[in-house]
């Protein structure tokens, strides 16, 4: 299966502590076929697991959001991504992490997509048939400040 995917994270260079920390996630299909992507445990469904590594000036910030045990996915847990285009989602990091002021907050998506299906094959896959894919991408760096800088 010629699956080629990469992710990217986009956001501001600086956020205000206590306000939402909105970050965009894109998962690009860089292969030549349509792909069905299981949204589970990816930012495409919001934050529902320890899917990120978050450090604040080098120190790990523990995850405080939900950890969800799933059964089998439904069809609409998948999203179709055409070659060259991306699945896009935005999330508020502050909903799942107790962030604090820091010069360099580093956000890294761990990169695991739990099931990727080439278009034409039947979806959904039962959980035990899932084929996970590790997707490359760059971490996002930003500041978190107590008051907005002028």
């Amino acid at each position: 299966m010629a699956v080629s995917l990469k992710y990217s994270l986009h956001g501001k260079s600086s956020y205000v502590l206590g306000k939402p920390i909105l970050i965009a996630f894109d998962l690009e299909n860089s292969s030549s076929t349509d792909l069905w992507i299981l949204k589970w445990y990816t930012p495409l469904e919001g934050i529902k697991g320890k899917i990120f590594e978050v450090t604040c000036d080098g120190e790990a910030i523990p995850y405080e959001g939900r950890l969800v045990k799933r059964g089998n996915p439904a069809e609409d847990d998948y999203v179709l991504v055409h070659p060259g285009s991306s699945a896009h989602a935005e999330f508020d990091l502050s909903e799942a992490y107790s962030l604090r002021e820091c010069k360099e907050c580093r956000l890294k998506f761990k990169g695991r997509i739990h099931d990727v299906v080439v278009d034409g094959q039947h979806i959904p896959h039962a959980a035990d048939q899932h084929v996970s894919v590790e997707v490359p991408g760059e971490p996002l760096l930003f500041r978190i400040e107590k008051v907005p800088t002028k």
């Binding site: 523990p62 939900r66 950890l67 969800v68 045990k69 799933r70 059964g71 739990h114 048939q129 899932h130």
Partner: protein, 585 residues
């Protein structure tokens, strides 16, 4: 039986129906409570046989070992008035219970049985008042209670009970006080849960405690051999590594403790049909149940009980697990490809605890191999049944020698084959051997530490010393083994079967084997270590059947085989890994 103690309110009497029991017998115990005071006393029937054997209310000991309770465990709210019984002054109530049914009593011998009086709740007050104090966590009775110890003898072994396919035995390491399932008037709270869901959850929690206890028992009681090779551990957590194994032990200890003892709040507030449950890792012990949970079976794969194990493992205060992968096949792959993640994965813990399909937690014994299958070019007559084996020292390093009768052969470790031109006569080639020490050795060993450069040959109750550098036996020998090898325990002063130097974590020690036992000698202190002899089968892991004693020769591996110990018997041998401390497959 009645006590004359004037301060006594209640006397709990225990008496077995007979003195001796056979394995197939029920062990009926007569339990009675007598009101020794001059006032009415209310006794809560909970944790007494008056309501049956429904909690771990007895201490059953055989030779200092506690039998594990395997009966039901009930999670309860507040007792009602019906749960109390009124005892008038002088009145006695009683009930019979079968201890063999609820406790894993399998060892023959004398049993001492005590009732845990601290679990008895009673008082002169009204039931309502007593309930209030119970709910405040005051379990100890407000009255003085005494009890006797009942004694009986199990005259033969009984089949041990199993939990989830694992022999529970006396899980004493874990059970010391808090380990195994025990009754606790813990409060389980529910939010938005219907009565039937509350009932379901209470059952699921009871089962979760059981499978968590069985999982804990499995990892805590596994022999070293089992830790390395048990299919159940391998399946879900992958290749053995001490730090990972310790983490898993710690996890089940905490998961079990949390399920059994912590105040859990269940939220029935999530309808999603594809989701079983969720938690927030920083919010112990709040568990949110979703649609898929209610359709799950009580036990087995992805069951209600297993889901509670899974969720409990997530809390940072418990095991802090993640969801790296889910599903059985995902977890099996993870165990293979990334065991570090497997021991941090919630579903892996769930599946190990559910143990469906059932996998064994028993170890696989090491392999018995024919000498001539792997020791190459062994000359005729030297296919086995050696008297002794020894590595060469000094100018003869890289070689090893096998002795048999009055002949010996030489083996080259690097070439991994026997040198040609052998066997040769011992007497003609090992110089200056004293009379009586030219054949039929019992064992041979190289000296270490202060005794490096020497080797020793043992025969009967004497030994000689050979110097590798001078290539001749030292004068002044043979000497008696007893006295010159210090602190040898009785029975270990002559006629050794084999001797081998320890490697890896056991370097600097020398082991003498005889029959089914061995002793350990320390080269530095030049003394036998205290605490020996021990049974070889008990401390040498994964020794296959037939290879737990009566060895004929033993040899340390060298060159590419360093770190291994070889034990020979007849025409076979086994290989022992010092680093893994087990016989290898």
């Amino acid at each position: 039986m009645a006590s004359k103690d004037s301060n006594l309110d209640l006397f709990v009497g225990l008496e077995f129906s007979k003195r001796n029991y056979k394995a197939s017998d029920p062990q009926k115990l007569d339990f009675s409570i007598t009101n020794e005071s001059n006032k009415d006393i209310q006794v809560l029937k909970w944790h007494t046989p008056l309501e049956g054997l429904k909690s771990d209310m007895f201490r059953v000991e055989t030779a200092g070992e506690r039998a594990v309770y395997l009966g039901p465990i009930y999670k309860r709210g507040a007792p009602t008035e019906d749960d109390y019984i009124t005892l008038k002054p002088g009145e006695t109530v009683g009930a019979k219970v079968d201890l063999a049914n609820a406790y894993d009593i399998n060892r023959p011998g004398t049993q001492n049985v005590k009732y845990k009086t601290e679990h008895l709740h009673a008082g002169a007050e009204e039931p309502k008042t007593l309930t209030k104090s119970l709910m405040k966590g005051k379990v100890a009775p407000a009255v003085t209670v005494k009890s006797n110890t009942a004694t009986c003898t199990l005259v033969e072994s009984r089949q041990p009970k199993t939990l989830g396919g694992v022999e529970v035995r006396l899980a004493r390491k874990l059970s010391s006080e808090k380990g195994l399932p025990k009754a606790k008037a813990e409060k389980t709270s529910f939010s938005s849960c219907s009565q039937s869901r509350q009932t379901d959850l209470a059952t699921a929690l009871t089962k979760a405690v059981q499978i968590a206890a069985a999982a804990k028992s499995a990892v805590f009681n596994a022999s070293k051999c089992a830790q390395y090779s048990a299919p159940r551990y391998r399946e879900w957590f992958g290749k053995f590594k001490q730090s990972r194994y310790d983490a898993v032990k710690n996890h089940y200890d905490k998961i079990h403790d949390a399920l059994a003892n912590k105040d859990i709040t269940f939220f029935c507030d999530c309808a999603d049909g594809n989701t079983y449950a969720y938690v927030y890792p920083t919010k112990p012990y709040e568990i949110h149940l979703c649609g898929a949970f209610w359709n799950a079976p009580m036990m087995g794969t992805d069951s209600k009980a297993g889901t509670l194990v899974h969720e409990m493992s997530h809390f940072n205060a418990v095991a802090g697990t993640d969801d790296h992968v889910y599903g059985q096949s995902g977890c099996r792959n993870l165990a293979n490809s990334n065991p570090d993640d497997a021991v941090d994965n919630a579903d892996s813990h769930e599946y190990f605890a559910e143990n469906t399909p059932v996998l064994s937690m028993a170890g696989s014994p090491g392999s018995i191999i024919k000498v001539t299958d792997f020791w190459r070019s062994m000359p005729s007559g030297f296919a086995g049944s050696f008297d002794a084996a020894l590595n060469g020292g000094g100018p003869f390093s890289g070689k090893c020698y096998f002795f048999k009768g009055d002949k010996y052969i030489r083996y080259d470790w690097a070439n991994d084959r026997a040198d040609s031109g052998y066997p040769k006569s011992i007497a003609a080639n090992w110089k200056n051997l004293p009379a009586g020490f030219k054949s039929n050795f019992d064992a041979a060993i190289n000296g270490q530490g202060p005794f490096s450069g020497k080797c020793y040959f043992f025969k009967g109750d004497k030994y000689i010393r050979y110097d590798w550098g001078a290539d001749r036996a030292d004068t002044g020998y043979p000497k008696p083994i007893a006295g010159n090898w210090r602190d040898l325990p009785s029975g270990f002063k002559d006629k050794f079967d084999a001797a081998i130097n320890g490697g890896g974590p056991f370097a600097g020690k020398l082991y003498f084997f005889k029959g089914d036992s061995y002793i350990r000698y320390d080269w530095q202190t030049d003394r036998t270590d205290p605490g020996y002899p021990k049974k070889t089968a008990d401390f040498w892991s994964c020794m296959p059947p037939g290879f737990t004693g009566d060895f004929e020769a033993a040899l340390e591996g060298d060159k590419q085989f360093k770190g291994r110990g070889y034990f020979f018997k007849g025409t076979n041998y086994i290989r022992y890994s010092w680093a893994e401390d087990r016989a290898e497959e």
